[in-house]
């Protein structure tokens, strides 16, 4: 028996791995069909994707996107809700997707032997959903309840106020439900929204799984080339125009025994050239449990159960947000800790070893992102939606590897500035007391707001 080695093993050479190629065909009706083969498990996913979404909601129908998303799961014009559910379960199929601000997805996954049933069902759901009045009525009640639940939780209060603070009246700043909008939405409103979103001319159908991509693409083309497209609207989502101002908002929630702190910074659209350096910088800041926020605020100071940041880049804009929850009496110290970490990032105070670890995390975790159907489908559809290079995923690891420390420092300095931060805290009054004790001596005025103020137009 050998004694335990005091140094960690070095490991051998990494095994070669490449993101698989995608077979693609653009049809005459504007629809893109694509397929990609992964793994050896006998499963597949079909996904319809449209580069449009909730930004088509009427201002007095906020919430109709979520209602549409939920009602689309209740069958098609051919299959009633009950028959549709039985058809899914009979073949062991599972449905996913959603209507986001600038993207809408319908996906169905299952065993490979049922791939073409999945294609047919997903196509029916995407193009000819049932939207039966009884389903609309049932889902309207549920969306109303989701709204009440969301608006009563400190975490979602912070999320909504951060979006509002960063984007104002832009669709990215709009909450996904408003009570009046949901209550007023009719089946006709849903049909109108569906027509606005679902246009094959700006759509893609992707199959991922244990398939022959070329054969699948040919068969998809054969099935889908006769679908009619509406003329493509030139009115896409516009980039956000406002520059967020530095502010600290407090929303009182007397029911909560916890405070939630959110910090938002303006960032970039997904196709921006600084995306990768900023992704690395965010990884250093709070991208995982080995990042600064978690190590400092949880593991060193015990202020919170978890503290993370997220870089979210959309079609026309993006943001970095960091959130944590804590005991109300620790709100002030937790916010000061968060701001201290932000300040260090803004000063470009990133060690080369941290940057190397962050890059290695992003490179090493990439095969894991691509290990499942949904991960691969998300990557492929994302590159299409954002107009990224054809080889973006095949070269992703090499591109991350090529990001220099200097450009990461520069991105951190540019995009992690305390002066650009929107800070939102929601919690009971004890949290406000803690904030006042810690923050006001540092010169940040606290704006006390309510959820009712969320949609109030702000002074320009």
């Amino acid at each position: 028996m050998t004694s335990f080695p005091p140094k960690p093993p070095q490991g051998g050479a990494p095994k070669p791995w490449n993101f698989p190629p995608t077979a693609v065909q653009d049809l005459g009706n504007g629809l893109r069909v694509a397929a990609i083969r992964i793994g050896s498990l006998p499963i597949a996913q079909v996904r319809w994707v449209f580069g449009s979404g909730r930004f088509h909601e009427r201002p007095d129908r906020i919430g109709s996107g979520l209602l549409l998303q939920r009602t689309m799961r209740h069958g098609t014009q051919e299959l009633s809700s009950s028959r549709f559910a039985q058809e899914l379960d009979r073949k062991g199929l599972r449905m996913g997707g959603g209507v986001a601000i600038d993207t809408s997805i319908v996906s169905i996954s299952g065993l490979i032997e049922h791939l073409w049933s999945a294609v047919d069902l997903a196509t029916q759901v995407a193009l000819t959903p049932g939207l039966e009045p009884i389903a609309v009525a049932g889902e309207r009640i549920k969306v109303g309840q989701i709204h009440r639940h969301g608006w009563s939780r400190v975490e979602s209060m912070v999320t909504m106020w951060l979006a509002r603070g960063l984007y104002g009246d832009h669709p990215y700043g709009t909450p996904n439900t408003l009570a009046d909008g949901t209550a007023a939405t009719t089946r006709d409103d849903l049909l109108e929204l569906h027509r606005a979103i679902v246009n094959p001319a700006r759509g893609m159908v992707l199959v991922v799984g244990d398939v022959d991509p070329e054969r699948v693409v040919a068969r998809l083309a054969d099935r889908l080339s006769r679908i009619e497209s509406a003329p493509v609207s030139i009115q896409g989502i516009q980039p956000p125009s406002r520059t967020p101002r530095r502010r600290l908002v407090f929303i009182e929630n007397g029911q909560s025994e916890q405070a939630c702190i959110g910090l938002g910074l303006p960032a970039i659209a997904r196709n921006h050239p600084e995306y990768l350096p900023l992704k690395v910088a965010n990884q250093v800041f709070g991208g995982s449990a080995s990042s600064r926020l978690f190590a400092e605020l949880r593991d060193r100071q015990g202020l919170t159960y978890g503290a993370y940041s997220n870089l979210d880049c959309g079609l026309v804009g993006g943001d970095t947000t960091a959130t944590l929850s804590c005991s109300p009496n620790k709100t002030g110290p937790a916010l000061m800790g968060l701001l201290s970490e932000l300040e260090a990032m803004g000063q470009g105070d990133l060690k080369p070893t941290e940057i190397e670890h962050a890059k290695r995390f992003l490179m090493g975790s990439f095969p894991q992102r691509a290990a499942g159907l949904t991960g691969v489908a998300s990557l492929v559809t994302s590159s299409w939606l954002h107009g990224l290079e054809d080889d973006v995923w095949m070269s992703y690891q090499a591109r991350i590897d090529g990001v220099s420390s200097e450009v990461v420092q520069s991105a951190a300095h540019k995009w992690f500035q305390t002066d650009a931060a929107t800070i939102v805290v929601a919690g009971p009054n004890g949290a406000l007391d803690s904030l006042r004790a810690s923050v006001q001596p540092n010169g940040l005025p606290i704006e006390v707001q309510t959820m009712d103020d969320l949609m109030t137009p702000e002074p320009r």
Binding site: P8, A13, S40, R94, G110, I141, A289, S290, P367, A371
Partner: protein, 414 residues
């Protein structure tokens, strides 16, 4: 047949390796046969608190360096504590498989426990409890339904523990807990991924082989499944915006041959858009906005449970009656071939999809060894599910779903 290598080290550590070369990754799961059920009154939450301490450093790995070591290669890492087991899992690029094993072995042999890290993790666990229980809708109700469903404290108290017990936990207890339970003969190490099983077993022998056996702890006896009396309780929840209802029946334990019948009943009632309870309560009658539950299988006392969030103004007693009606239906109506086919396909599909994730595979392999002493248990699962006949459902439902042995808890928004 899947190629699985297994070995038991002289110190009692059981090891299973399942090669899977789909992607150059490895998933590792280290399971300790200890959970909250070993905690005596006044010690609740200790197994979970100890799980946090396991990430706070060992002789050759500093505080926080375990997570950093895994994540600096892009891996995933975490731990989870249950009533009967505590699991530590991670993934890594497969060429770094030895790094994870080396760090696991280091903390099994030389966990560093200090007052500082103990206090920080106590604070972290209290913050976790605040988030998951105190400030969570139905969080307190989840604790209460456990207390009134299990006859004995071992299974009835919450895994995360009571606040006062967490506050009074001591570092000395942590050291004793480690010596008693965190020993190789009380653990299973499962590895799945793009690895050479021989190389993995060599590394396991090299890193874990000289860790001494434990003191053969006096096992907390597993009590018999309780026969529950009818209990009906109500509580107010200021965090909830909608009423909710919990209903539990006692169920057979994991090792019982009817385990697979319960799996089928769970899928029939709760899984998929055509499942009976979802269809009836959420879609057709719209009495609930969410229905979940199923078979909570333990080696010891186990449950078949329902948790439903009612629609605004919904009547809990009407929902309870509808649930009982569906259970009664199981006792009188033979399952149709079509329904049985749907259940089989849902379960089959879920099993295949689970294999996409190597950590999931490793956890599943580890549970197969821990609970069934059979590395091929997972492989035989579907075959055994297919053997469940409609008559089995009738028999088990008639035997077990006694309306006079339920525990129910109604939650009212305050």
């Amino acid at each position: 047949m899947v190629d699985i290598q297994e070995s038991t080290l002289p110190n009692g550590l059981r090891v299973a390796v399942q090669p899977d070369a789909r992607i150059p990754l490895v998933g590792v799961s280290l399971l300790f046969d200890v959970g909250s059920r070993v905690e005596a009154e006044g010690e609740s939450g200790f197994a979970h608190l100890f799980e946090h301490l396991m990430f706070q450093g060992s002789a050759h790995v500093g505080p926080g360096e375990f997570i950093q070591g895994i994540q600096s290669w892009g891996g995933t890492v975490n731990g989870m504590t249950g009533k009967e087991r505590t699991t530590y899992y991670h993934s890594l690029p497969s060429h770094q498989f030895a790094l994870g094993l080396w760090m696991e072995a280091d903390r099994m042999r030389s966990l560093a426990l200090t007052e500082d890290t103990f206090e920080t993790q106590r604070a972290t666990v209290l913050a976790e409890r605040l988030e998951r229980v105190d400030n969570s809708p139905y969080g307190q109700a989840n604790v209460r339904i456990g207390e009134i469903s299990y006859a004995d404290y071992a299974y009835g108290h919450p895994v995360i523990g009571y606040r006062k017990d967490i506050e009074s936990a001591t570092l000395a207890s942590a050291e004793a807990f480690r010596r008693t339970w965190y020993t190789p003969d009380n653990a299973v190490l499962a590895i799945a991924g793009d690895v050479d099983p021989e190389a993995v077993l060599d590394a396991v022998h090299a890193y874990f082989g000289d860790i001494p056996r434990g003191p053969s702890p006096a096992r907390t006896p597993i009590p018999d499944p309780p026969r529950m009396l009818p209990v009906v309780e109500c509580m107010d929840d200021p965090k909830a915006t909608l009423p909710a209802l919990f209903i539990n029946h006692p169920a057979i334990p994991r090792g019982n041959p009817d385990f697979y019948v319960y799996e089928v009943i769970e899928a029939l009632m709760f899984r998929g858009p055509s499942s009976r309870l979802y269809r009836r309560m959420v879609v057709d009658e719209r009495t609930a906005i969410k229905v979940q539950g199923g078979y909570e299988a333990n080696r010891g006392p186990s449950l078949f449970s329902l948790f439903a969030v009612l629609a605004q103004g919904g009547d809990p007693s009407a929902l309870a009656a509808a649930y009982q009606d569906e259970l009664d239906r199981l006792t009188r109506e033979r399952l149709t071939t079509d329904e049985l086919e749907r259940v089989h396909n849902r379960l089959r599909s879920a099993r295949v999809f689970g294999r996409q994730d190597l950590i999931h595979q490793a956890n599943s392999l580890g549970r197969s060894v821990l609970y069934h002493s059979d590395v091929r248990w997972e492989e035989s699962y579907l075959e055994r599910i297919l053997r469940v006949e409609p008559e089995d459902i009738l028999r088990v439902a008639r035997r077990d779903f006694d309306p006079n042995s339920t525990v129910s808890l109604e939650v009212r928004p305050a």
